[in-house]
Amino acid sequence: MSRTFFDIARRNLQRNLFRSLLAVVGIVIGVLAISSLGILGNSLTLSVTEQLSTVGDSLTVIPHTGTGAQFGGGMTQEKITERQVQDLRRIAAPDPVIPLYSTADRIDVGSQRGVVSIYALDPDDLQYLVEADQGILLRGNSGVLAGSQVADQFDLKVGSQVWFGDGSTERVVGILKERGLGFDIQPDLALIVPIRWYEDREDPEGYDQVIIKVGNLERVEAIQDGIDERFNRRETVLDSYSSTEILSSIETVFAQISTFTTAIGGISLVVAGISILNVMMMSVTERTREIGILRSIGTLRSEIRQMFIYEALMLGLIGSVLGGLLSFGAGYLISLLVLQTTQYLFHPSSLSSIALGMGFGIVTALLSGLYPAWKASNLNPIEALRHE
């Protein structure tokens, strides 16, 4: 039985082909907007989190530098003492705790001169943070490691000689693998020197930063609580940031951007919905007499409703399928233009954007068809029959 109503709905759409096509185009544009903006948002999120998440999970502990410090106020400190590091080791055990100095210096390599970041680290801790691409990681109390971008910039190779600002010199023993942006340190953009070499020269008051590599993700919070309990009970002395925390807040921001762009796409779908509503209302008015005939020869109200809902569904379905197919193309183009890569196009979350767009397209069409269907089914058959 519903096949007959389906046929009537289909033929009515064909009878007003141009009008139906315009309604379909509206849905196509709406679905396209939602899907391709969703794909863009997703690709953006994916590309950023991929760059950020290579580090694994780490807690970064740095001295709290509140406004009090600038006015010489109270206990606020700017370094982390050896005693505090020992406390951190107790809190974090058995996870490794890595204290480090972070500074910058002028260097000369051959005829090139520049300023680079320098990290001073215990050679035993290096394994937790970096990998050597060429040469070896530091051993003992001499030598220097070059981050991948520094190596490129100064044309460094294993064995190259680096002159520091104070006139001392060291040889490059290893070039590091590129690691990408991190929350703890940025080795790509730095030189790494042995911690004792640095302490012998500078005699620093305390460490600039401590990194705790947390083996078990579930312990991150417990360690942070332990740090707060030990150091920050009366006032904040040490700040700790977990990479998952930062990552999730970045993801939240991107998800919001994604939602926002999807909402913009949604507006175009609302417009499409209104155009379907308009088309269907015209159809109800034009077919008033036909509806009267159908009612008089025994068609139920619910069956008239069904007929009109089929029409709306068909517009929505055709529009959504076309829109979904086209969003691959649009997503491809947008990704290529904005991100210069299309590697995230077939990622499940991008595909789910297309599904979402198509789902919204169908639902919008259906909702737009409800009122006309209700209107058509409630026509008085006598008045409808008299309608010219």
Partner: protein, 236 residues
């Protein structure tokens, strides 16, 4: 009065003091004023009267398209005032065939599909009930099967009315309601349609027909004349 003798069963239609009032801003319009009328199985009735006399209102009430304002209207032993919209629809679908002046075929459906449509409404499985659309079309005088796949607007007026009659007959209803069935046809074609309706009546269908054409009314066995919402003359 030969038709009366064939009907020993219950009356098909019984109006008891039925009034129909249309409320309008300028005052209520009384379309039917305490009409009592009984239609027995197998009758062929012509309802006549000037325009605005209430004959179309009478037909709409019999056709379950409308319900009385007051009084009681029984169709096939059921009080229409007690029926829901769906039940009225089922009554129309299963026991009444409509034949209109304007033919009122569905332009989106082919000739055969138009005839099949009420059958499909009634029986989800087409083979289970009703008559065969092809045979009904032939019985209605549309022999040329090549026309069956055409759309209604590709047929002549007389052919369209025959399709409409086939559609009215396909669910094998007890009652045919005809509103000026020849009003849009030339005289010769009209006569053909009337002969078809007479034959349907002889085969057992009760027919109620609204017309203002005296010549057409003569095909009926009983003439009812309505003026100002009241029955003025009833040959039955």
């Amino acid at each position: 009065m030969e038709t009366v003798t064939t009907s020993e069963g219950p009356d098909l239609i019984r109006f008891e003091e039925v009034s129909k009032v249309y409320p309008l801003p300028a005052g209520d319009v009384v379309a039917l004023d305490r009409v009592s009328l009984t239609v027995r199985n197998g009758e062929f009735i012509a309802i006549m009267g000037p325009s605005g006399s209430g004959k179309t209102t009478l037909l709409n009430l019999i056709g379950c398209l409308d319900v009385p304002t007051s009084g009681r209207l029984m169709i096939s032993g059921r009080d229409v005032a007690e029926l829901s919209d769906d039940e009225l629809t089922y009554l129309r679908r299963d026991t009444i065939g409509f034949i209109f002046q304007q033919f009122n075929l569905i332009p989106l459906l082919s000739v055969l599909e138009n005839v099949e449509y009420p059958l499909i409404l009634k029986c989800k499985d087409r083979s289970a009930c009703g008559l065969r659309p092809n045979e009904v079309l032939k019985a209605a005088g549309l022999d040329d099967e090549r026309l069956y796949t055409n759309r209604p607007n590709e047929l002549s007026g007389g052919q369209q009315q025959r399709v409409a009659i086939a559609r009215a007959l396909v669910n094998d209803p007890d009652l045919l309601l005809c509103d000026e069935p020849t009003g849009n046809l030339d005289q010769r074609t009209g006569q053909g349609i009337m002969e078809l309706l007479s034959r349907m009546n002889r085969e057992g269908k009760t027919i109620i027909m609204v017309t203002h054409d005296l010549g057409i009314a003569e095909y009926a066995s009983r003439q009812v004349r309505i003026v100002d919402g009241r029955i003025q003359e009833d040959s039955g």
